[in-house]
Subunit: 256 residues, 2 copies
Amino acid sequence: MERYSVKQLSRLAGVSVRTLHLYDQIGLLKPAIRTEARYRLYGREQLLRLQQILLYKELDFSLHEIGRILDKPGFDKLKALEQHKTALEARRNRLSTLLQTLDKTISHVKNNTMLTPEELYEGLPKETAEAYRNEASAKYGADALATSENYLRQLSKADFAKLKEESKEIASTLFAMRQQNPESEPVQKLIARHYAIIRQFWGTANSADPQAEAYEGLGQLYVSDERFTLVDGQAQPEYALFMSKAMGYFAKNSLT
Amino acid sequence: MERYSVKQLSRLAGVSVRTLHLYDQIGLLKPAIRTEARYRLYGREQLLRLQQILLYKELDFSLHEIGRILDKPGFDKLKALEQHKTALEARRNRLSTLLQTLDKTISHVKNNTMLTPEELYEGLPKETAEAYRNEASAKYGADALATSENYLRQLSKADFAKLKEESKEIASTLFAMRQQNPESEPVQKLIARHYAIIRQFWGTANSADPQAEAYEGLGQLYVSDERFTLVDGQAQPEYALFMSKAMGYFAKNSLT
DNA sequence: ACTTGACTCTTACCTTACGTCATAGTGTAT
DNA sequence: ATACACTATGACGTAAGGTAAGAGTCAAGT
């Protein structure tokens, strides 16, 4: 009569000793006998039952269900199997749509993101772009600038285009308005709008809250820079400076 | 400025209040402010973040991972997504093979099982079968007989055929031996063998252990019945009686 | 006989993402 | 003032074990 210790049985069946302890505890697989020292000893019969258990576990039944299936023969075995099948099918379907979503998300991220640094400043002569970057870097720190640029680069192209569009529009409106009165209400509103836009793209990614202080600072930034210019009645692509400054500012104020 | 209470936000996002409590607790989604009575109030920003959280949860990330992803933008977001994709694919594949196994198991059970009551007693005239069933029923109770019949019916056809074969053979050998000496050693051995066979088909399904007592009772059963007959030197299909009696006995002794 | 190393026992706390109370305080409409 | 809906905190429970602590056991080598 073969007797297996917990370790031996665990090796034979490929489960952990703890698992055998657990199965004993919940009455799913009791040892054939216990020695005087309460060592568990299993026989061939228990090995067979364990293999049955593992089969059903493979089929993803819960231990509770396995117990019920194994302890009353026949009857609802088929029903249980079929019930379980529909459950598994539901899970597989969910997984499939999940994977589709994931694929879409990935390809979205992959194709629409990671603009090259050049794309970030497209439309500007290289030297001009460099000059702006240096200025922003000096003002807000290289880290802040890098952070903001990295953030911008991982926007989707569509989002970036939208951001550019809105920034351009605001810059041009702002320019027009500054001619009149920098403190005027509409200017404040515009700033608020741009703030909201940037926040939106900046997203919920940053837990730090810039709050009113940053908001105010942003207003200062807008009205104090002389270079919101129009050429031939059109806003120049100063949005690059605009954005690098604004984003730099945000980055700085968001970094604890 | 919209402010949402826990309940309102929970309805908006389709999660439970407890979930919001939890997310607050683990720092995944903090309310915008707390009232004096420590009521949580959320803003639009928190709603957006919650929706992001739910997106990633949909993609089956753990809350911990979601926190990491949301709290540092960009960077390894893509890597995380792709890693996760392979993980999900592995799971889907496992599910698929699992479903195949299940299908096979089900069709096996379906096609090879559930003999009709007639098949159980095939080869016997109806009246004879009825007479045997009545006898067994009277002796062991209708419940016990039903249990044993139900058990038999869910055996695979192959298994049932094997069981029939072995029972027939043993019945015939037993008959031959009873001519000589009922108490002889070989008879005991035969009984033991049949006991083992029945146990095997009865399987590990029954946790109750009939033990030595039942074993002895089975021996009595065999030697005390007069009807193990041979016709033309062949064992008659008395296995039906044989089995209904034996299984009835088992069922009775296994039912606590 | 003694020690070492490999096992084994029980007990109990940890994990995920919440569900489900229990108890107590709060807000509001009648 | 009271009823009713809402909220907060704390605690325990879930599934299937992992991990560890503290203590006992077994066989082999010295």
